[in-house]
């Protein structure tokens, strides 16, 4: 236990070091597009010429079916460019739909793969991924975080404490999508005003959102008020924004002694809000396995008023084959009205960022490839392909004309404005898989009608206490105190 704590303590040590690192990164602020990629290619050539790396070396890359196109480019364009520029070949495979932890554990022969933000703590805890700070120092390639072209939210996307553990490649901030044509329809506006005494406009609060979900629900015409996911595996994603927005500055998951706060009135209210959409959702919404692969086709084919997903949603809703092309809006997550102002929170719900497994035989090449791929210019090429769920992850992506064309300027502006409201994904603690599994299980029981909201939060709270004890309460308390520092502190405006 002491060893584990020492290791963790070193990761979460004085954040001043992290801030200093971030300050140094500012030196890279002026890095022009393409510069990062050129540096990476030059470093690879240098490694080959020095004999440190065999020119016949191959990087073994494993990504998911949904983002392989983002890594390889249209018709494998990026793969060809990398191989032509460096001579280092890429061996690409597809990862099954498994948690990265499971995959990395059972597949040692991988140089570079992907993991979600909330998986970092368990991956680091079990020493399954490589710390990237030494590689960044060796190649003098710090992670840029400037507001022109730097990486978004590096404190969540790249770092665990002050340790660099991942290279961001997917900025999965959740937003609410609603049907613009339904919202702007004059008959709907008149009826809504008559029924509720207020104008029909993008929902600001969770209460307004629920009201609109009920208003637009027409199951006899196969049109549902909400197609938010409610399957067993993804409950937390849609509960966290509801829960964390309940109090100013944040409704936290634990107090400073790691006692769960979720069985509070705030937790019950968030859970009730989570449950309330189920009655206005399609029949299969609770079924196991009905994730976004179930909800997005429904929304894209015009069967629903609202859904919640990342920026990638806008990409598929805007395809020429989509039935709602030009008929949807992305709006900020609703919030809670506190002292007359709307208090919003959202989170990174998927986020497939780049990690290098500890078992990698080519960590240097893997790191340089990751830096090359996430270069401001190269990454625009990767994000521009039609397939792929990777989302903009650098500030420059929000202003890129090509990406504005693909995602829609309105959608990009909405997400850019939400960045200040993003809270950490999951708990951010080792054991996150177990904490979130317990939460998901009980949320599903609430949604299925077999448990009340208060019972569910009470049971989850009991489960969380057991998990905390198993991981060592004192150790978890120290870690939690570090995580608390990363929560946002501002109230966003309506």
């Amino acid at each position: 236990m002491t060893d584990r704590f020492s290791a963790w303590n070193s990761w979460l040590a004085d954040t001043r070091i992290g801030l200093l690192g971030l300050l140094l990164c500012c030196c890279a602020m002026s890095a022009t597009a393409g510069f990062q990629a050129d540096r990476a290619v030059a470093a690879v050539k240098s490694l080959i010429s020095s004999g440190e790396v065999d020119s016949n070396a191959v990087i073994k890359l494993v990504v998911k079916q949904g983002n392989i196109a983002n890594f390889l480019g249209n018709e494998h364009e990026l793969k060809r460019v990398w191989e032509q520029q460096t001579g280092i070949l890429l061996d690409v495979r597809i990862m099954p739909q498994l948690p990265s932890l499971e995959y990395i554990k059972s597949n040692p022969n991988v140089d570079i793969t992907i993991a979600r933000n909330r998986e970092y703590p368990d991956l680091v805890e079990q020493q399954l991924i490589t710390e990237l700070g030494p590689l960044a120092n060796r190649f003098s390639m710090p992670l840029a975080d400037d507001s022109e072209s730097g990486y978004l939210l590096p404190q969540y996307q790249a770092y665990l404490g002050d340790k660099l553990v991942a290279i961001p490649a997917d900025g999965d901030v959740a937003v609410l999508y609603i049907r613009k044509d339904k919202l702007e329809d004059e008959a709907n506006q008149a009826l809504y005003l008559h029924r509720y005494g207020e104008p029909l406009q993008p929902p600001q609060s969770w209460q307004e959102y629920q009201q609109q979900v009920e208003f637009f629900h027409q199951p006899d015409q196969e049109f549902y008020g909400s197609v938010e996911q409610r399957d067993l595996a993804s409950g937390w994603m849609f509960w966290i924004p509801r829960y964390t927005s309940q109090s100013f500055p944040n409704q936290y998951l634990f107090d400073e002694q790691m006692r769960p706060l979720i069985d509070s009135p705030a937790g019950v209210a968030a859970t009730e809000s989570y449950r309330a959409t189920v009655a206005y959702s399609p029949p299969g919404i609770l079924k196991a396995g009905n994730s976004y692969t179930y909800t997005l086709p429904l929304f894209a084919n015009g069967y629903g008023y609202s859904t919640m997903i990342t920026l990638a949603g806008a990409k598929v809703f805007g395809l020429s084959s989509s039935k709602i092309k030009d008929k949807f809006l992305a709006v900020p997550m609703p919030g809670k009205r506190i002292n007359g102002e709307i208090h919003r929170r959202t989170t990174l719900i998927y986020g497939n960022n780049i990690v290098i497994p500890s078992s990698s035989e080519q960590p240097e090449l893997a790191f340089l490839f990751a830096m090359w791929l996430t270069d401001p210019d190269i990454s625009v090429t990767g994000l521009s392909v039609k397939g792929g769920f990777a989302d903009p992850f650098r500030y420059s992506h929000f202003t890129d004309p090509g990406l504005q064309q693909i995602y829609g300027a309105q959608v990009l502006d909405t997400v850019a404005a939400e960045l200040d409201s993003v809270v950490p994904a999951g708990t951010g603690l080792p054991g996150d898989v177990e904490y979130i599994n317990a939460l998901n299980r009980n949320l599903h029981r609430v949604a299925s009608g077999t448990l009340s909201a208060s019972q569910a939060m009470a049971e989850t709270s009991r489960d969380w206490n057991l998990i905390t004890d198993r991981y060592g309460r004192e150790l978890q308390i120290k870690r939690w105190k570090q995580i608390l520092k990363h929560y946002p502190g501002a109230v966003s405006k309506p």
Binding site: Q65, P96, G289, T293, P297, L319, S320, G388, T450
Partner: protein, 841 residues
């Protein structure tokens, strides 16, 4: 001379015009259509690959993009095909019509595939792709291949004709040019010779006259200037005084004439130069033709008749990486990869040395070492004596096309999830094994394997976990068989193992044991320890069938028998299984309509509390009066309903009817009566049970504790942890839980205490002999004491005599049920029974 020059100009112009027209014609009718057919082949392959990939896209983001890509590729093919039609419909009208028809039908299927995929209906997309698009794609692809072949054959013929025609013209041109030059030289010589003879005669005469020989006579015939000069000279002779002047005049005039003749000679030379220039232009045109060959996009090699390379074009060096200098003097053997069959080369040489043409595919190696496939056409080149002087080889790189064909073939034969042979390939291999066994007079075994409990895992933990489980299960199966055996995925959670070279059916048993033990360890997936076993059915060739389909059917039936025998075991096929299954299928057919035909009913048997002997509950028992088969015993149809999944619908019907009936009895004055219904393991694991119970309790305004759910021990033994979770969640609803048939299974005290049961029902088997058999008496007493120890109420089933009742009361049993009090009764009969026995609650 002028005629000759004119003829030369005419012929050379004809050669150039003819070559240009032929080039344009070849380009229009051969080269361009061939290139466009190749383009269409490539595009339709891309369309097909994308279509096949669509149903494999588990992630919606990737799927949506692939759908978009498919639409783009369809539009692209449309455009290319429209262009192709415009160019070639007058040349290949039949083929264009056929391609047009095939494409229209295929495009319709592709639209359906895209539509199904856009709604995530991937099974529909896969079905359309496999059964509707596939034959249409093959038809279209073959038509394109045929057209390409036809164009290629025609182009070879036209090319040969063009070469032959040009050669003929070239020879004509050379002969006439030579004749023209020789004629010009001859005329020039004749003219100069005539002139010099006559001038010489004059010169000699003048010399003599100059020397004073005035008697010299000058006789020159003709009427040209020289004759006149001679005459004048004669006059001069006569007129001595003027001789000098006349002589000078004559000389001057002669010089003028010589100059004129010299000018004529110069003009002739000019004409000859012009002719040479014309010839140079003709040669230049021949060079253009040569460049056309050199710059052709297909690879061309010309060897001498021993195979030694004399010429390669630019396309050859680009494709192979060898320069022209590196290959000249070598034979094409230097490109050999060793991958092409010796017989192919043998056939090639036999054909071309006999003067014939050969075409086929050859795998060669580039300078870089990379392998590539070439479609090669070799034809001999003969001289005017019909002797082979050279060989012309035209090669087209078909590596990508072959790779695409191999990929499509692989996808058609292998299961994309497990990488095992699919059903189609498995049947193919089974037929092959049967043929081999028949030839060698030996046996073969087919195993049909079904994973027990897979469906539940797939439904409860999701398809992702299910898919990983199938991958791992496939790996274990593959590791458990011999290297020569085939393991295939039949579909869903069903696998096949084909074993050839068997002497006796027992030879398969070691492999069967390996397979069963391979499933002993749980599967670790996504943090879960999943226990899955296998049921295996075996069919032996030739004893259980001599045909692949019969073997498959019989192995399938044997597998069902293994399932019936308790799962996690194996069973050899025997004919009685067939009969048994036929009966079962007939029963299943009628059972499927039992609810809609209102053939099901419920009978109720009272449960009596020992304390005051009052009725506290009734057990609802299912009855089936089938229109075709008459009364069917529950022993027959309930296990069948369980196996087929019908039990969920029937079980819900039981709960609904039992709750309605209970409400009626409550309204008739028995408000404290409870009803007990039997719940099957499959029903418990279903998703709707909670909702069904809540709905019917709510609709009939019943308190949850008035519904008792009875379940047997089997469910607890199979997956204790899962059973505990489910029972706790049912208990959360407020209903009572009873363990049915206690004592017949393997339950232990430790098992019981872990589950939230309220009631323990002792099986009638023990109660039956309780009066005579001390062992049964001891067993019942132990069960009652155990139940009390755990805080459970005990119910003895099958009580038929007063003595049994007395003994059970003495033992402390809480409740009894049996014929002693009442047999199971129809609802209205039970009401009368309640009234008669005056035990109103």
């Amino acid at each position: 001379m002028i005629l000759l020059v004119g003829a030369l100009l005419f012929i050379s112009n004809g050669i150039i015009r003819d070559a240009s027209e032929r080039l344009a014609d070849i380009h229009r009718t051969q080269v361009k259509p061939l290139a466009e057919v190749n383009e269409l082949q490539s595009k339709i392959n891309r369309v097909r690959v994308t279509e096949i990939y669509l149903p494999l896209m588990g992630d919606y983001f990737a799927l949506a993009a692939e759908i978009d890509r498919l639409h783009t590729l369809i539009a692209d093919f449309d455009q290319s095909f429209d262009r192709f039609k415009d160019h070639t419909k007058s040349i290949y009208p039949l083929e264009i019509k056929s391609i047009n028809n095939s494409w229209k039908r295929l495009r319709g299927n592709l639209q359906k595939v895209a539509e199904a995929a856009s709604l995530s209906q991937l099974d529909d997309a896969r079905r359309i792709s496999t059964y509707e698009s596939s034959p249409r794609f093959v038809s279209l692809s073959r038509t394109l291949d045929g057209l390409a072949q036809k164009i290629k054959i025609e182009s070879d013929s036209v090319y040969q004709q063009a070469l032959s025609s040009l050669e003929k013209k070239r020879r004509q041109f050379l002969i006439i040019s030579v004749m023209a030059v020789l004629s010009g030289i001859g005329l020039l010589l004749l003219f100069s010779r005539s002139l010099s003879v006559r001038v010489g005669y004059l010169r000699r005469a003048f010399n003599r006259i100059a020397e004073g020989d005035m008697d010299e006579t000058l006789e020159i015939k003709g009427n040209d200037e020289l004759a006149e000069l001679a005459a004048a000279f004669a006059v001069m002779k006569e007129k001595v005084r003027s001789r000098e002047q006349a002589l000078n005049l004559a000389r001057d005039e002669l010089e003028v004439r010589v100059q004129h003749r010299t000018q004529a000679l110069h003009d002739t030379n000019q004409q000859l130069s012009a002719e040479v220039e014309e010839r140079r232009k003709a040669e230049q045109n021949l060079r253009i033709l040569s460049q056309a060959v050199s710059q052709s996009p297909v690879s061309i090699i010309i060897t001498d008749n021993t195979g030694s390379i004399e010429y390669v074009n630019q396309a050859f060096t680009t494709i192979t990486g060898y320069s022209s200098e590196e290959v000249k003097g070598n034979t094409p053997r230097m490109l050999s990869s060793g991958k092409t069959a010796f017989a192919t080369y043998q056939q090639l040489w036999t054909t071309i040395l006999a003067g014939g043409e050969w075409e086929g595919e050859i795998c060669n190696r580039k300078k870089s070492g990379e392998l590539h496939w070439e479609y090669t056409h070799i034809s001999p080149v003969k001289d005017e004596n019909d002797v082979i002087t050279h060989f012309l080889s035209i090669k087209q790189d078909v590596t990508e096309k072959k790779a695409q064909q191999e990929k499509i073939l692989y996808q058609a034969q292998y299961d994309s999830l497990t990488d095992l042979p699919n059903r189609m390939l498995a049947l193919d291999r089974l037929e092959s094994t049967i043929r081999q066994s028949r030839r060698n007079n030996i046996k073969a075994i087919l195993m049909f394997i079904d994973l027990d409990g897979f469906k539940h895992i797939n439904d409860s933990l999701g398809h992702d976990v299910g898919d990983v489980l199938l991958i791992q299960a496939a790996r274990r199966l593959r590791d458990s068989v011999r290297a020569v055996d085939t393991v295939a995925r039949h579909g869903g959670d069903e696998f096949l193992v084909i074993m050839g070279g068997i002497e006796d059916r027992d030879d398969g048993l070691p492999v069967v044991e390996n397979l069963l033990s391979a499933f002993a360890d749980p599967f670790k997936i996504a943090g879960n320890d999943l226990v899955v076993t296998a049921s295996i059915g075996l069919a032996l060739y030739p004893d259980d069938g001599e045909d692949a389909n019969v073997m498959l059917r019989n192995a399938d039936m044997a597998m069902y028998q293994a399932k019936d025998n308790g799962r996690n075991t194996f069973h050899f096929y025997n004919p009685s299984i067939h009969e048994h299954l036929s009966k079962r299928l007939e029963l299943e057919k009628y059972l499927r309509h039992a609810i809609s035909k209102q053939e099901l009913s419920l009978a109720y048997q009272p449960i009596i509390d020992m304390d005051g002997e009052r009725v506290v509950a009734v057990e609802a028992l299912l009855r089936w009066s089938c229109g075709a088969l008459g009364e069917v015993s529950p022993v027959q149809f309930i296990p069948l309903a369980e196996q087929t999944g019908l039990i969920i619908e029937i079980g819900n019907w039981v709960i609904e009817n039992a709750c309605q009936q209970l409400k009626q009895w409550h309204n008739m004055g028995y408000p404290h009566l409870s009803v007990s219904v039997n719940i099957s393991p499959r029903q418990i694991q279903g998703e709707d049970l909670h909702q069904t119970i809540l709905q019917h309790l709510h609709t009939n305004e019943l308190a949850a504790e008035q519904l008792i759910l009875e379940m047997t021990e089997g469910m607890l033994i199979r997956n204790p942890a899962e059973a505990r979770r489910i029972l706790i969640s049912l208990k959360d609803l407020g209903v009572q839980l009873a363990m049915d048939d206690f004592g017949t299974g393997y339950s232990s005290l430790s098992n019981l205490k872990n589950y939230p049961f309220d009631l323990l029902k002792i099986d009638r088997e023990f109660v039956f002999d309780i009066e005579d058999d001390p062992a049964d008496r001891a067993m019942v007493l132990a069960a009652i004491n155990m139940g009390k120890g755990l805080g459970l109420k005990t119910i003895a089933e099958g009580v038929e005599t007063q003595r049994q009742l007395d003994l059970l009361r003495d033992m402390g049993c809480d409740r009894v049920q049996g014929y002693f009090h009442s047999k199971p009764l129809k609802a209205e009969q039970l009401q009368s029974w309640l009234e008669r026995n005056s035990v109103i609650e």
